[in-house]
């Protein structure tokens, strides 16, 4: 096994912070090498050093590629050697076609005039390679994230690739698409292209990787070979977090009481296509102290259901009846929904949850400002106390409540959003993907908070795409597909297979 890439003793500092310490990392020819670790462990920094985003001289150590030491000054240098990186945030231009995107930088041309025929032909070839059946003229904005990911890979293949680096390629993909993507990597491997796969979903990693390297706090912890026999997930996690997560989910004895929230016949239509019914007459209820999970694939309508309930924030022609404590409530605007006792914690905290340029304090009180004001004038002292109180209770790690939320880590940002909603004192909380993009240690803390919420007698609804998470923290799991609830299980008896089977079967019988 020849080493294609060898990174030796890489150290990298940012002003005062050591991001990487003596990291060594090798990739063999035609190998799929997974890089795992918590957020902030240094994975992205390492591949940025490799691809020349951080140029030679800004780090210590050496990079040997193809048998010689290389000193990349920028990303063009590394691309010239066939090292291609696909970032987590896709770098495609939405209003350009697939072909235009693939040949954005270097289209085949004669004297500066683009050869459109050649572009079209080569795009078709590349799309066939990645198994994407779309016209090269389709606009990026008209295809889903999964297909966009494939376009990125096609774009990478349009250059001479020897080492493909994928930064969390499957983070936002539904199960089926990520499976297709991963099998593509296996195909490339057969053609001699090596890959580095940065990923959070350990089950996927274990399926395709030849070796797994674990980073923790900027150091290499271990490199495990999984060609012989598969590596256990728990073992990887233990290495990642450096503590024995005997229970990935905190223990809890549920104290479930009467129904606090009930929805009947809830329907909603697509905001743009008024004849497309997306939520189809859902009946749903939550009891006091209960954690209910909503499972389903992307596009099943889970987020749409929650947001249409929460002040009609999604969709149109919304109908149905919502009750809290047995009485019908008006949830037609966000303010009314909040007053009625609902809270919705968004799946996209940066876009929909936080004022990133504002501090922790202003974010915590935003949804309930009148509670820290008298006669519409804010009371600084009370606001400070409230924010400090939540900062302590939720263990938000910031230097004070005056730190900008944009500078916090994902887990701490999520705690700020949760604080904001707790401060409205809701009876029912909808948590949409509450642990997305959060590292393992912080996830545990979020689970503890969720448990505390339920134990305080609130109804908690968790929407999650990670089935183990739902099985681990919920009391009851509702399965959604195609805009309706298609199954319900007590979490103690449910398994991932049962849930997936329910989804698949409901898909078959659907008209």
């Amino acid at each position: 096994m020849n080493a294609l890439l060898e990174m030796r003793g890489i150290s990298k500092y940012f002003t005062g912070v050591k991001a990487l310490t003596e990291v060594s990392f090798t990739v063999a020819e035609g190998e799929i090498h997974a890089l795992v670790g918590e957020n902030g462990a240094g994975k992205s920094t390492l591949v940025k050093v490799l691809s020349g985003v951080y140029p030679h001289g800004s780090y210590e150590g050496s990079i040997v590629f193809d048998g010689e030491e290389r000193r990349f000054r920028d990303i063009n240098d590394s691309e010239a050697f066939g090292i291609i990186i696909i970032h987590q945030e896709l770098a495609l231009i939405p209003l350009m076609s697939i072909a235009e995107n693939i040949f954005l930088a270097n289209p085949p041309a004669h004297f500066g005039v683009i050869d459109r025929g050649a572009v079209h032909r080569r795009t078709l070839e590349l799309l066939a390679t990645v198994g994407l059946d779309e016209s090269p003229d389709t606009l990026i904005t008209d295809i889903g994230v999964g297909k966009q990911q494939l376009v990125e890979i096609a774009k990478a293949l349009s250059k001479r690739v020897r080492l493909l680096i994928l930064d969390e390629p499957t983070a936002s993909l539904p199960e089926k698409d990520s499976a297709a993507l991963l099998s593509l990597l296996l195909e490339f491997k057969a053609r001699g292209i090596a890959s580095i796969l940065i990923a959070h979903k350990l089950s996927e990693v274990a399926r395709v990787a030849d070796r797994i390297t674990v980073l923790r706090d900027g150091r290499t912890v271990d490199t495990m070979d999984c060609r012989g026999k598969p590596v256990e997930e728990d073992r990887i996690i233990r290495k990642m977090v450096d503590r024995d997560l005997e229970h990935r989910y905190p223990r809890r004895t549920p104290k479930i009481d009467g129904t606090v929230f009930r929805v009947s016949g809830w329907s909603a239509y697509h905001p743009l296509h008024s004849d497309r019914q997306v939520i189809k007459g859902i009946d749903f209820e939550v009891r006091r102290g209960e954690i209910v999970g909503i499972a389903g694939l992307m596009g099943a309508g889970r987020t749409e259901f929650a947001m249409s309930l929460f002040g009609r924030s999604w969709g149109q022609k919304i109908s149905g009846r919502a009750e809290i404590d047995g009485r019908e409530v008006d949830v037609s605007t966000v303010q009314r929904a909040i007053d009625a006792g609902l809270a919705y914690v968004t799946e996209d905290r940066k876009q929909f949850g936080l004022l990133l340029a504002e501090d922790v304090r202003k974010n915590v009180t935003l949804a309930n400002l009148s509670a820290v004001a008298s006669a519409n004038v804010l009371d600084d002292a009370r606001e400070f106390q409230v924010a400090s109180d939540y900062r302590r209770r939720m263990r938000i790690r910031s230097h004070s409540v005056y730190q900008e939320t944009g500078t916090l880590s994902g887990g701490n940002q999520q705690k700020v959003v949760l604080s904001k909603w707790l401060f409205t004192d809701p009876k029912v909380l909808f948590l949409d993907e509450p642990t997305r993009g959060i590292d393992v240690g912080a996830k545990y803390e979020i689970y503890c908070i969720i448990n505390e919420l339920a134990d305080a007698g609130r109804g908690v609804v968790v929407i999650s795409s990670e089935l183990p998470e739902l099985l681990g923290i919920c009391d009851r799991i509702c399965v959604m597909n195609n805009g309706g609830i298609v199954g319900e299980f007590p979490a103690a008896k449910a398994t991932q297979e049962m849930i997936m089977r329910t989804i698949m079967r409901s898909g078959e019988t659907a008209p």
């Binding site: 005062g16 912070v17 957020n39 902030g40 929460f310 002040g311 924030s313 605007t333 966000v334 303010q335 929904a337 909040i338 919705y344 968004t346 876009q351 929909f352 949850g353 936080l354 004022l355 990133l356 340029a357 504002e358 202003k362 935003l366 949804a367 400002l369 009148s370 004001a373 519409n376 004038v377 804010l378 600084d380 002292a381 400070f384 400090s388 790690r397 910031s398 230097h399 004070s400 005056y402 730190q403 500078t407 880590s409 887990g411 701490n412 904001k420």
Partner: protein, 397 residues
């Protein structure tokens, strides 16, 4: 992740403090530097009591409109129509008072309501129909410029009654007899204002300390407030040695205080900044983003109307050219004062300082006899430079 913040704290405190001071007071320091520069090159003309009074009178309407513009910009919008609207309102006032003999108080009220209606009409399209404010107010700019021409019939209309002129050119009545050419009431008001500001600063500092928040060093705090006190009293003294405080300065100061209070201390202000910072998150927190955007335009309309009245009263006539290009000075004032074109960021004090920088430069360059051509070139470069400096500072911190 968390260890990053720890190491930041260990950075040398003084350097960090100086950096943050430069960020917070950079524009104020620039203003003083510009004033000092013109004071020297004009051989002391800039701060002569007569000129200082003129400076206030000339710029009051820009400051007033900058207050409204700041809120519009904070919500992520822009209003290009304010110059035309203020010119149009001046024309309406002139026609009502001079041609139809309407009482000036009633006419002024009608004009303010009309300003609100104009703001509402434009804000409606921006807030509820999601038409970019740039386009809506560009249309408004043309419409009201045209309407002003139409109702004036292409001619100047004036003069106004003396009482109406006092809005702009009057001074507060003197209660005590003025000996040695000094107006003691004005001086006393200035000193009282300075004391109030210093007391306010001390109180908020004490409060911050009681929360355990790191505040600026004692010496610096004392020096800063002493300087603040001295500057205000000195300016009050200069004004008092001419004819006392102009009426319009009183109106302007009251408005500045009101808007500073609303933006920093009230639910309304907080919600406006939240809409500008992240409209989607604000809406999902129960904030009525559309209504707030609408209201910022209504508010802008009222302030543009007030500015139009002040300007007409000052010229003692309404001309078809009144208000021409005001929007540029007003918008420039906000951006020089640190407002962000992306919304969510900007302070009342910044907008006021920005307006003063523009005003001092206009005045100083006129005294120096620099032509209107090069004045514009220099103002343009200052705007670009100020915003570049701001962006650079933001990026470093």
């Amino acid at each position: 992740m968390s260890d990053k913040t720890v190491t930041l704290k260990e950075a040398p405190r003084l350097a960090g403090f100086l950096k943050s001071m430069l960020r917070d007071y950079g524009m104020l320091i620039s203003l003083f530097a510009i004033m000092a520069f013109f004071e020297v090159v004009t051989d002391g003309t800039l701060l002569r009591p007569l000129n200082l009074t003129n400076l206030v009178l000339q710029n009051s309407y820009v400051v007033m409109m900058a207050l409204g513009m700041l809120l519009v910009i904070v919500t992520g919008n822009i209003d290009l129509s304010v110059g035309s609207v203020s010119g149009f309102i001046g024309a309406v006032a002139a026609v009502l008072i001079v041609k139809f003999g309407v009482h000036y108080v009633l006419a002024a009220l009608v004009c303010l309501v009309l300003g609100a209606a104009i703001g509402a009409a434009q804000g409606y399209w921006v807030a509820y129909f999601k038409i970019p404010s740039f386009i809506v107010t560009l249309a408004g700019m043309l419409v009201f410029k045209g309407l002003a021409l139409a109702i004036l019939g292409g001619q100047s209309v004036g003069p106004f009654p003396v009482e109406f002129q006092r809005l702009s050119s009057g001074f507060i009545p003197e209660l005590i007899s003025n000996a040695d050419g000094i107006y003691p009431t004005s001086l006393a008001i200035g000193a009282a204002l300075a004391l109030a500001l210093v007391w306010q600063n001390a109180r908020s500092r004490a409060q911050q300390q009681s929360y355990g928040i790191e505040t600026e060093p004692n010496g610096f705090f004392l020096a800063k407030n002493f300087l603040l006190f001295a500057v205000i009293v000195y300016f009050a003294y200069l004004l008092a040695s001419y004819r006392g405080l102009p009426n319009v300065l009183v109106i302007m100061t009251a408005l500045v205080a009101l808007y500073a209070f609303v933006t920093t201390r009230t639910i309304l202000g907080r919600q406006i900044y939240a809409v500008g910072g992240n409209a989607k998150a604000a809406k999902l927190s129960g904030i009525k983003a559309e209504r707030l955007t609408f209201l910022t335009f209504v508010n802008m309309g009222v302030l543009a109307a007030l500015a139009g009245l002040v300007f007409a009263a000052r010229l003692n006539t309404a001309t078809p050219k009144a208000g021409l290009g005001f929007e540029l000075d007003v918008i420039a004032a906000c951006f020089i004062g640190g407002a962000s074109a992306y919304g969510g960021v900007g302070r009342v004090s910044g907008a006021v300082i920005g307006a003063m920088i523009m005003g001092v430069m206009n005045n100083g360059m006129s005294i120096l006899g620099i032509g209107i051509d090069y004045q514009q070139v220099i103002k343009g470069l200052v705007l670009l430079g100020a915003v570049c400096l701001d962006v650079y500072n933001q990026r470093r911190s």
